[in-house]
Amino acid sequence: MPDKPETSGKPEAAGTAPAPFLEMRGISKAFPGVQALDKVDFAVAAGEVHCLIGANGAGKSTLMKILAGVYAADSGEILLGGKPLRAASPSDSLKAGVAVIYQELSLVEHLTVAENIFLGQYPKLMPGVVDWLGMAKKAKVILDGLGVRIAPGAEVSSLSMGHKQIVELCKALAAEARVVVMDEPSATLSKEEFNALVKVVFDLKARGVTIIYISHRLEELFLVGDSVTVLRDGKKAYSGPIKSLDIKELVRLMIGHDVRSGKGCSLPPLADAVKIEARGLSNNVLKGVDLAVREGEILGLYGLVGSGRSEILHAFFGSQRASGVIKVDGEEVRLSSPVDAMRLGVGLIPEQRKTQGLILGLAVWENAAIAAIPDLSVKGALIPRKLYALARSFVKRLRIKTPSVMTEVRSLSGGNQQKVVIAKWLMKKSSILLFDEPTQGIDIGAKEEVYDIIRGFAGKPGAATIVASSELEELEGMCHRICVLYEGRVAGEFTPPFPTKVILHTAITGEAHERR
């Protein structure tokens, strides 16, 4: 626990607080059309775990990229240990002792753990000759020091996500980093892996390493963090000890107002007609799934990773093969490709926004119109004006924040990108929408908006909706019914009021009733 007084959100009281170890002063950075950071002050005390949070697009990554030397700030200065840090490139800041662990990690998968730890600074027997034994020994010292059991000779590709994170931390230690930035380390970790990681983080802290911790999962900040800085729209909204806050306050600081709870919102009325149904859906993951969704219904699919959530959606969308019978509006259909499914009004909002949902290099209008373009064209010829106008109307309707519809979709924040994916299917006038993790990696404010869009869609006559999610709370807030999947089959089906504990139990054990 920190025993020093923390810096406060107001201008630092001169004299009383100790000089921070890392200080970024008056950092501004503009990208064409957007002021990403506006005179942000960011100070971190030595040896603390300092959380950095903010909605998507608030400027966290930009700030950290400036610290890492990836971007140059338009104005402002960085002090490290009281000395100015001139980080013109990532190697400059690494030399100065700042290591950044990005979410997508930067390990060489086919090299060993030891090689990765010492990448670029291999121990040498003589100039140009790698000291393999020495390297393995040194790697083992670092790994043992952190109390983790990873073999230095193991190939990184064989490690779990959690262990890869730990190898990244070892790499930072080997480089004698004094400040380590961890960008969303927990996003892809299981609970056990996360606990192991936290132990390592505390270990590093005990050795005097200063850690900047970025995460969307607010609960875990209270577990790991000493203090917190909140960014909002490129400005600092708060900075201070984390203990004096709770989650609700953090959220308020992040989005600038209170969150409406999804619960209690009225659900769209249900019709009797079944819109889409499947019987005996089977493939390498699915083991005979029966499902039916009625008009107006929002069906939730809940289950652990690998339980078959995405596979069901892909089978309905024709993008993955499955045997069994699928009926739309009571008629049996053959779905051998997405084109077939789209013709029947089915649309899929896939799990991986950037690799499956969007073409990042194309403009907002084109990503939004991509599915509907054939319908809106005359004999294969586009009518650009019409498409731009339509895209603009959807940007407005879904409140997509973008400088223009001509902007590359790459430069939008996660939440706005997701809205563009949804716009694609609304523009196509789909009547059956399949959402796969629709709010993954987007901030709370945008989440609420996505929920509203889903509810709005489901309320239209003749619509049917399936939402697959690993966040039970989100399903409970908006679904008429939740089906729990376990190893490729439907293990239980629940209606409100949802018995949270039983649902969790079903997802983990595959049995809908707790054993006596």
Binding site: P32, Q35, D38, P350, I359, G380, A381
Partner: protein, 319 residues
């Protein structure tokens, strides 16, 4: 909400990034007109247009292939084969239209093969078309056992060597193909689909675009355009030459990339490629006008390709 500041001082950078090819063309045009007063004459430009038309037509097809993230190494061999098909048929007394149609068909068939294998089997197009490059050259040589076909009928020469007014027909053909392809890329569902497929084929598939079909179509187009270039070459030289078009694939790739196409797919266009071909032609022209050996030309061309792309990269990463 989001503070939107007006973009300042970025303007010239953006401009340069987008139009740096024009900048290079302007620089070399000025240099050329200083070196030789004959450069800025209508006659010289007509010559340039005629000389570049073959590479130009091939480059249009190549650009489309690169746009979907592929590469077509077979263009030179297809060019030679198509030229031989046309020449042999003409020599045998068949009509011009039949000869040309058969030549184009041979290009289409090879393109279909390239596209089908690349799209359906997952063999990278680099390998598929490398095979076509070798095999089609063999086919071209086989048609006459390696010897050229001379003395093609005079009426056949119009396409490659004829003029409309004082503008070469082959140059007009190149311009027309470029314009049609540019309009297709911008204003048709097929054209926009190519950008989507090249940018992210998985997202394109999940948006209802028939990815494999698009790839096959693009390779067929490239095959047909290479074949057309082969017909133009045979018509221009009045000779069916089985060794024609050697190294053409590299010129076409260089021109397409100079014109802004990215080898990873999803960006670029045929107007840029036109500029790329034009730039390379001007450079050759300068050296010819200055009376320097073509060996210097080759070295300088290599240098310019690297310099232009490095500059491009520089402006791309500096934002």
């Amino acid at each position: 909400m989001n503070a939107v500041s007006p973009p300042r001082e970025f303007a010239w950078k953006d401009f340069f990034r987008k139009y740096n090819l024009l900048f290079f063309i302007a620089v070399f045009t000025i240099a050329a007109s200083i070196i030789s007063p004959r450069f800025l004459t209508f006659q010289n430009f007509a010559n340039l247009l005629q000389q570049s038309s073959v590479t130009g037509i091939v480059t249009v097809g190549m650009t489309l292939v690169i746009l979907v993230g592929g590469i077509d190494l077979g263009v030179g061999s297809v060019l030679a084969l198509a030229g031989m098909v046309a020449a042999v048929l003409l020599e045998g007394g068949y009509g011009i239209f039949l000869a040309i149609a058969a030549a184009l068909a041979s290009g289409a068939v090879l393109g279909l093969f390239n596209g089908y294998v690349s799209a359906k089997s997952g063999v990278p197009s680099f390998i598929t078309t490398l095979a076509t490059m070798v095999a089609a050259r063999g086919l071209a040589l086989l048609t006459t056992d390696g010897s050229p076909v001379f003395d093609l009928p005079e009426t056949f020469q119009w396409l490659g060597a004829g003029f409309i007014g004082s503008i070469p027909v082959s140059g007009l053909l190149w311009i027309a193909i470029t314009v049609v392809a540019a309009l297709m890329l911008k204003y048709t569902t097929f054209g926009r689909g190519l950008y989507a497929v090249g940018g992210n084929d998985e997202a394109a598939r999940l948006s209802g675009i028939r990815v494999k079909r698009s790839v096959i179509h693009v390779f067929v187009l490239s095959g047909v355009l290479s074949a057309l270039a082969g017909v133009v070459t045979a018509s221009w030289l009045t000779v069916g030459q089985p060794t024609a078009g050697k190294g053409m694939e590299l010129d076409a790739i260089a021109a397409a990339v100079l014109g802004g196409a990215s080898l990873s797919g999803g960006s670029g266009g045929v107007i840029g490629a036109f500029g790329g071909v034009w730039l390379l032609a001007i450079i050759t022209n300068i050296f010819n006008l200055a009376g320097l050996s073509s060996y210097y030309q080759m070295i300088f061309k290599g240098g310019i390709i690297v310099a232009a792309l490095m500059l491009n990269q520089f402006f791309r990463t500096r934002d």
